[in-house]
Symmetry: C2
Subunit: 97 residues, 2 copies
């Protein structure tokens, strides 16, 4: 899994906001960009880090690139945090997977 890239990705507020936007459903790069005041290349850089962490997946739709949240990696990441204090959840019986 290599948590490292996911934690790095989550450490930036812009990237967390991108993920939050995507939690409402898939979006194109352009429509995500509309929510921010930074340049598109800067956003693209953030997209790259999110992809690298496998927190998002992409597919092309004509001229657009559609970004989709990869919830399983988010779940794994939350699990790592929860495990730091032995939190009980539904996924517990997996034992360390």
């Amino acid at each position: 899994m290599s948590d490292q890239s996911a934690f790095k990705a989550l450490a930036d507020p812009t990237r967390r906001e991108i993920l939050r936007l995507l939690s409402g459903g898939s979006l194109t790069a352009g429509s995500i960009a509309d929510h921010f005041s930074i340049s598109k290349p800067s956003l693209s850089h953030h997209f790259n880090l999110l992809k690298q962490a496998d927190l998002v997946r992409t597919e092309r739709d004509g001229q657009n690139i559609v970004y989709t949240l990869n919830t399983s990696v988010l779940e794994d990441t939350a699990r790592v945090v929860l495990d730091l204090f032995d939190y009980e959840t539904a996924g517990k019986e997996q034992e360390k997977n």
Copy 2:
């Protein structure tokens, strides 16, 4: 709460390992340092970031400084990640708190 400092703190593998060590119980700065090959001042820097994020609390015991995990902030942080995909857990009824 300001999640930012907690996410930043969690983004570093050394700091996550410190937290993992503390999840087994409180430890002195020195005994934590024994688990790492980096210098004590470097560790102290990491301790500072963890304290800033309120992920750990400290108290002096003679010559030693004892570090203790603050699980409530870890819980809050995990919650932020879980909320990115509307995960259902026991704490759910709090609704956005």
